[in-house]
């Protein structure tokens, strides 16, 4: 138990902070911070699997998150029948062409040895394939996008429950990670970082501009939810009774019947959104716990020890007969798949998919700050990093605003500097993150909860 003392302390402080937000701001804010903390924790665990276990640097987290989100859309949205009728078949043919292209390239790679000739043949296959794709897909996408563009204009999804997409998101992200890993894993660490960053930008560009697939920047809104809707709750009698019971003490103090009804209505509206967020938090919490158990088991298994050996000295590990390339690829896929789950969770939480909002600052670099701050190589540390950094990211602006007001309280309201500072309060969150990261890297380079190696 003693070895977990600082873990417990750190988490207790974190929970108290969130409860404080609930008491002082509102429970709604506190719960949405908690939900995003949980989602960030899942992302951080994914990045930690790659960086902490294996020392692989993946700056493409944004791309995998977006793919997870795309999975949520493709699984949960009902199929658009008209769009399938005008262009569905062509799109399936295109998918078939891509499969044929990949297979034939693989065949060429296997059968012909490395030479200029082989490169030319592969180039020819790709160019011919792309031309064919354009001829078939061009008109099809136009037709699909023309189907009621204000509402649909895309193929839609499968119409299945959105929870299912959490698993599919993992497979999407894992699939992309397989391709990226095959291409880029041989590179030296900082080149891997740049290459993954650029590849994730390509993924975002595709999701943003292929309207037939994801509606692009037109966004997909009103996704199905795994939890009840606020409106339904507000109209169901059991929920109103529950709220009445919980707040009975407060309600008894009010004498007039009409007034009491008003207060009750207000309470019901507030509690309904709290209830929904609590349900989501429960779901996210289950995911975090399951992942934590799996990753913890993996970390202290023979496989985990092997990964650490590869991380610390890949040549020695190679000499011991471990297949470094294969293990790197495997762990790259696993970590990315976890990030994919988080992407799907986030879209589920928001109920909308906005490809335009995927930006590297928020979805790649912030997650890396979480990993470094929390403690790489330690799952508890990674989760804590997700919590701490997200909490600061959200609360930095209000705190900055408070401090600005405090320090400029002697200045008049019309002072130009004061107005300027108050307007730029949101950007202090970048400053907080940057200084926090720099301080942690300087004075506690292993993070808040450093990696612990249990000797057996």
């Amino acid at each position: 138990m003693r070895q977990y003392a600082n873990v417990i302390t750190a988490y207790t402080i974190m929970i108290i902070l969130i409860i404080l937000v609930g008491v002082f701001q509102s429970w709604n804010v506190a719960l949405s911070i908690l939900n995003f903390c949980l989602i960030s924790a899942v992302m951080t665990m994914g990045a930690n699997i790659q960086w902490g276990y294996a020392g692989l640097i993946n700056f493409g987290i944004m791309g995998y998150t977006a793919l997870g989100g795309l999975a949520a859309v493709l699984i949960s949205v009902a199929p658009v029948q008209e769009a399938w009728a005008v262009g569905g078949l062509d799109m399936i043919i295109c998918a078939g062409i891509i499969v044929v292209m990949v297979l034939s390239i693989r065949y060429v790679l296997k059968k012909i040895e490395k030479s200029k000739k082989r490169n030319y043949i592969i180039a020819a296959i790709i160019i011919f394939g792309l031309m064919l794709l354009r001829v078939i897909a061009g008109p099809a996408t136009e037709h699909i996008e023309a189907v009621d563009p204000a509402k649909t204009g895309f193929l839609g999804g499968l119409g299945m429950p959105i929870l299912f997409s959490w698993i599919v998101g993992a497979f999407f992200a894992g699939g992309l990670a397989y391709i990226v890993g095959k291409v880029a894993l041989g590179l030296r660490a900082d080149y891997l970082a740049i290459a993954t960053l650029l590849i994730s930008e390509i993924v975002i560009a595709v999701i943003k501009h292929e309207d037939w697939l994801s509606r692009g920047v037109k966004n997909v809104i009103g996704l199905k939810r795994p939890v009840p809707y606020e409106v339904d709750l507000q109209n169901s009698s059991w929920f109103i009774d529950l709220v009445e019971k919980l707040h009975s003490g407060k309600l008894k103090l009010i004498n007039s019947l009409a007034e009491r009804q008003d207060v009750l209505n207000q309470l019901v509206i507030e509690s309904s959104s709290v209830y929904v967020k609590l349900c989501l938090a429960g779901l996210f919490f289950i995911v975090v716990i399951i992942l934590l158990i799996i990753t913890q088991k993996a970390l202290y298994s023979p496989w985990g020890r092997m990964m650490r050996a590869i991380r610390d000295n890949d040549e020695a590990a190679n000499a011991m007969g471990k297949n470094v390339v294969k293990e790197h690829l495997l762990i790259f896929i696993l970590g990315s798949a976890v990030v994919g789950i988080a992407g799907a969770m986030m879209v589920t939480h928001d109920g909308l998919f906005t490809p335009g909002s995927y930006r590297p600052m928020r979805y790649t670099f912030l997650i890396w700050v979480m990993v470094i701050v929390g403690g790489s190589g330690n799952n508890f540390g990674a989760i804590l990093g997700g919590f701490v950094v997200w909490f600061l990211w959200v609360e930095a602006a209000p705190i900055a605003l408070f401090l600005i007001n405090f320090f400029t309280s002697h200045l008049p309201e019309t002072n130009a500097l004061k107005i300027h500072l108050i307007n730029s309060a949101p950007y202090f969150r970048f400053l907080t993150m940057g200084i926090g990261l720099l301080l942690i890297m300087r004075y506690r380079p292993k993070g808040i909860l450093p990696e612990k190696i249990i000797k057996q």
Binding site: A184, L187, D190, Y191, A193, A195, S424, M433
Partner: protein, 336 residues
């Protein structure tokens, strides 16, 4: 006549814009490559450092404009570059002293330095946004065009017009001057040679009595010049927006790696490779072929290889291809 029209079309829509965009990328790419070659890390704060320098140019331009100082037909911003450069160099040296120096002396692995540069990225971005805000700022003044399409048509009697913006010419001229000065400095002066020696083999350079602190300081100073000038030229040509500058980091990285990282000349050419590729591949050639081909063969479609939405994606794909087939870059840089 049709043939000349087609050439003018290409000149107007591809070659002139690509040359100026390429010059802006080239300056940034040399900045990245110098930091990589001498300080040995990938600087993720590149784009935001450029924004930081440009911010001072913008603020000073406004100040000069309020004083009534200007350069006539040339943009006032050119006058502010020296001051902005000084501020940029000061900022870089402070950051180096507070942040990077510690890891350099400790001989940390490059990955750790790259992570640290992400911290610097956050801080720089915050400073820029707090001081000037995240909005689009235009600070161009003076004569906008050197050659207008209408004038060109009147002069030559052709159907196609050629537009040359002042900023495009300024960009290309200044880039040529700066880059030639830089190469003269690196190849002919003693300090430049010691920098190259340090980049090539640190231990050997230290043995032969080269002062590492001086080399590092000079590197940051050159980096400051390149970052500010590159940023100001980009801002004059398009506009100044911090987020766009952050995003520009990506094609700049692509240019540096395509050219062979650690190799300034490679980075210079890499900038143009990326710019030309982006514009060549996303340009719609319909009109071009309409001039060249007989009427019966005229194309119906836009004749565009990729839609302009994928402009950035093009440069990244080039990078991936280069990394796959020639990981040292086109002009042999360091082996990755």
């Amino acid at each position: 006549m049709d043939f000349i029209n087609a050439i003018i079309l290409l000149l107007n829509y591809i070659i002139v814009p690509a040359l100026s965009y390429g010059s802006q990328l080239a300056l940034g790419a040399i900045f990245v490559t110098l930091i990589y070659g001498i300080l040995r890390f990938a600087n993720f704060a590149t784009g935001d450092m450029m924004a930081f320098g440009t911010m001072f140019a913008v603020l000073l331009t406004w100040y000069f404009q309020s004083l009534g100082i200007n350069l006539g037909v040339l943009p006032t911003a050119l006058l502010t570059i020296p001051f902005a450069v000084i501020m940029m160099i000061l900022y870089m040296l402070i950051i180096d002293k507070l942040v990077f120096r510690y890891y350099r002396i400790k001989k940390s692995p490059p990955v750790q330095l790259a992570m640290v540069s992400i911290g610097v990225l956050f801080v720089t971005q915050a400073i820029v946004r707090i001081i000037i805000g995240p909005f689009d700022r235009r600070f161009f003044d003076g004569e906008k065009f050197i050659l207008k399409a209408v004038e060109f048509k009147e002069m030559t009697g052709l159907n196609e017009g050629l537009t040359v913006k002042t900023t495009q010419v300024i960009t290309i001229v200044i880039t040529v001057i700066v880059v030639s000065l830089l190469f003269w400095f690196l190849n002919k002066t003693k300090t430049g040679k010691s920098m190259r020696a340090y980049s090539d083999n640190e231990d050997l350079a230290l043995l032969s009595g080269i002062d590492p602190n001086k080399v590092v300081m000079i590197t940051w100073m050159i980096a400051g010049v390149l970052a500010t000038i590159g940023g100001v030229l980009y801002g004059l040509d398009k506009s100044f927006k911090p987020f766009v500058y952050f995003n520009n980091m990506l094609p700049i990285f692509a240019a540096a790696i395509v050219g062979g990282i650690g190799n300034p000349f490679g980075a210079f050419l890499g900038g143009y490779v990326i710019a030309f590729a982006e514009i060549f591949i996303t340009y719609a050639y319909k009109k071009f072929f309409m001039y060249l081909l007989p009427e019966s063969l005229e194309p119906d479609s836009l004749m565009q290889l990729l839609s302009t939405d994928y402009k950035f994606a093009v440069s990244f794909s080039i990078l991936v291809i280069v990394l796959l087939f020639r990981p040292t870059g086109i002009f042999k840089g360091k082996v990755l």
